[in-house]
């Protein structure tokens, strides 16, 4: 019943590249915070829900930035965590992961504008599970999606409203997001938070283009 630990070391015959360093991530989050306020026309009714595990620290950072920009926004009262383990569509095939707590702000999510926050958007299946999980929690007026990295290869008709970075990747590559809150191992200066791509050494032509990089990708 053991769960393989999320590999923090890149496997052998892989090369690792840092795509976003700490200041890059900070800038991306600042931009997303402004975009959220712009598309919502202010901070009224906003609730941020981070998807466990790495979406939650990102949601907290976004909330702190929103509070800086708009003092009417209360970060603490409008941020929560959503666990989607029980709603995954691959529970039959893979060992279960220990569920994380779901924390919903006291004011609830009914009638609010809810922003889901996650680290990487890939197949879209996590987001589908999150939408299912939301139905059991309440009924927001609108649900938006903010992700730090969109790496393409969608398997479901899902897109993000706010993207930190569009990252064309091969399906053989692995994108890792390391944050100081969720991955406290010491790292080099400037890489306390970082986004890393692990690629197999053998080159591969199967490079997908993430939506948005083609120039007509939807942006909120």
């Amino acid at each position: 019943m053991s769960v393989p630990e999320h590999a923090e070391q890149s496997p052998r015959s892989m090369t690792s590249r840092v795509i976003l360093s700490t200041p890059d991530i900070d800038r991306a989050l600042s931009r997303i915070a402004h975009e959220i306020l712009e598309s919502n026309k202010g901070s009224r009714g906003l609730v941020l829900l981070g998807i466990a595990r790495r979406g939650y620290p990102l949601a907290q950072r976004l909330a702190a930035k929103l509070e800086q920009i708009d003092p009417d926004f209360h970060a603490q009262q409008s941020t929560g965590q959503l666990d989607i383990t029980m709603y995954r569509d691959d529970l039959r095939r893979h060992p279960a992961r220990t569920p994380q707590p779901t924390v919903i702000p006291d004011s609830g999510i009914d009638g609010r504008t809810l922003v889901l926050v996650d680290d990487v958007l890939f197949s879209g299946r996590t987001i589908r599970a999150a939408l299912d999980a939301l139905v059991d929690v309440g009924r927001p007026n609108a649900v938006r999606l903010a992700v730090l990295v969109d790496r393409g290869h969608r398997e479901l008709p899902i897109r993000a409203d706010h993207v930190g970075k569009n990252l064309p990747t091969s399906s053989h590559e692995k994108v890792r997001v390391l944050l100081r809150e969720s991955d406290p191992q010491p790292r080099a200066r400037g890489h306390e938070d970082c986004v890393i791509i692990d690629s197999p050494v053998v080159s591969d032509d199967d490079v997908a283009r993430a939506p948005g990089t083609a120039g007509k990708g939807p942006r909120a």
Binding site: M1, S2, D90, P95
Partner: protein, 327 residues
């Protein structure tokens, strides 16, 4: 882990993992939508060869909260009373494609037999076999103790174990599968377990049990343990005179109002646990059962959460396939 048969085969990591999962399952029970889709389309068979209300209802509730289909089978009024064997009964249920079998049986080892014989392919969960084991009861007791500790220290219970807690298990140890399962699980989690019983109700060969044995309840209670777990006097399994009279048993090993008062006077942190059903006035007095120290109802509520966690962990995925990337 494919089956849950005993607690001595549970590792520390597995035990903490089940309890962590159970904590999140408990949170679901406080929502307005008390249902998760995790086991949709799976079938859980409750195979009960022995009377039970709370364990069966608890397993049924747990399976239903996870959206599994539940088939209840009790030996009374079934073909078992016509002489059908365990093998045939189990295979009949398998022909209806059950994914998990929850079994309670009066014979020790019946769940093991079901799991190892190759008769069936489903996950087997032991819901109490004879005098042998009752792992989900021990898990719910551990969860209750962990929450007691979390409430006392103010630390969140996730990842916590029972290191340093002193748990006293009192009463009919000889006939108790609850005591056996608790001894192994609680010591795995770091607790110190003391069994207290009349000498006639202590098993013979227990040298390898990781616990202390005492015969004087008052002496043990004077140490102000963290928890006292009273066992039910199982009169249905008693075929000999183990003690002179019930009044004498109560005086020596019952949680009487005098003993409760003494703990109050000491300011002890002790909570009172009981696996139920309680024989009020025999092993536990009403003062103890209804006192704020009693965790009996928490134990029942935690039972559903623990059983949800066990069903979820046993039925979702197998370890042969690696976990995909997080995204």
């Amino acid at each position: 882990m494919k089956h849950l048969l005993t607690t001595n085969e549970l590792s520390y990591r597995e035990a903490v993992r089940i309890l962590d999962t159970a904590d999140q399952m408990a949170a679901v029970s406080s929502r307005s939508v008390k249902k998760l889709p995790a086991l949709r389309g799976r079938t859980v068979v409750n195979l009960f060869f022995e009377d039970s209300t709370r364990t069966r209802i608890s397993f049924e509730t747990a399976a239903k909260r996870l959206s599994a289909d539940v088939i209840n089978f009790s030996a009374k009024g079934s073909s078992v009373s016509k002489g059908e064997s365990l093998k045939d009964t189990a295979q009949t249920l398998m022909a209806m494609s059950a994914d998990a079998v929850v079994i309670r049986h009066a014979s020790s080892g019946a769940p093991q037999q079901l799991a190892d014989s190759g008769w069936i392919d489903a996950a087997v969960i032991n819901a109490g076999d004879g005098k042998h084991a009752h792992p989900t009861q021990a898990l719910l007791d551990a969860m209750t103790l962990r929450r007691v500790r979390s409430g006392a220290t103010g630390v969140a219970s996730t990842g916590m174990d029972l290191e340093g807690m002193h748990v006293v298990i009192v009463g009919d140890v000889l006939h108790s599968r609850v005591a056996r399962s608790n001894v192994w699980l609680l010591t795995t989690l770091g607790a110190r377990v003391t069994l207290v019983a009349p000498p006639t109700l202590v098993p013979v060969a227990m040298d390898d049990w990781p616990c202390e044995v005492g015969y004087d309840l008052d002496a043990v209670l004077a140490e102000a343990p963290d928890a006292v777990m009273m066992l039910r006097l199982q009169r249905e399994r008693m075929n000999a005179a183990f003690f002179p009279s019930e009044a004498e048993y109560t005086r020596g090993w019952g949680l009487t109002s005098q003993r409760v008062q003494r703990l109050e006077d000491m300011g002890a942190p002790t909570v009172f646990m009981h696996p139920g059903p309680m024989n009020r006035g025999l092993e536990i007095s009403s003062e103890a059962a209804d006192s704020p120290r009693s965790t009996v109802l928490e134990q029942v509520a935690n039972g559903v959460a623990v059983r949800m966690a066990v069903l979820f962990l046993l039925l979702s995925g197998d370890e042969s396939s690696p976990y995909p990337s997080e995204n």
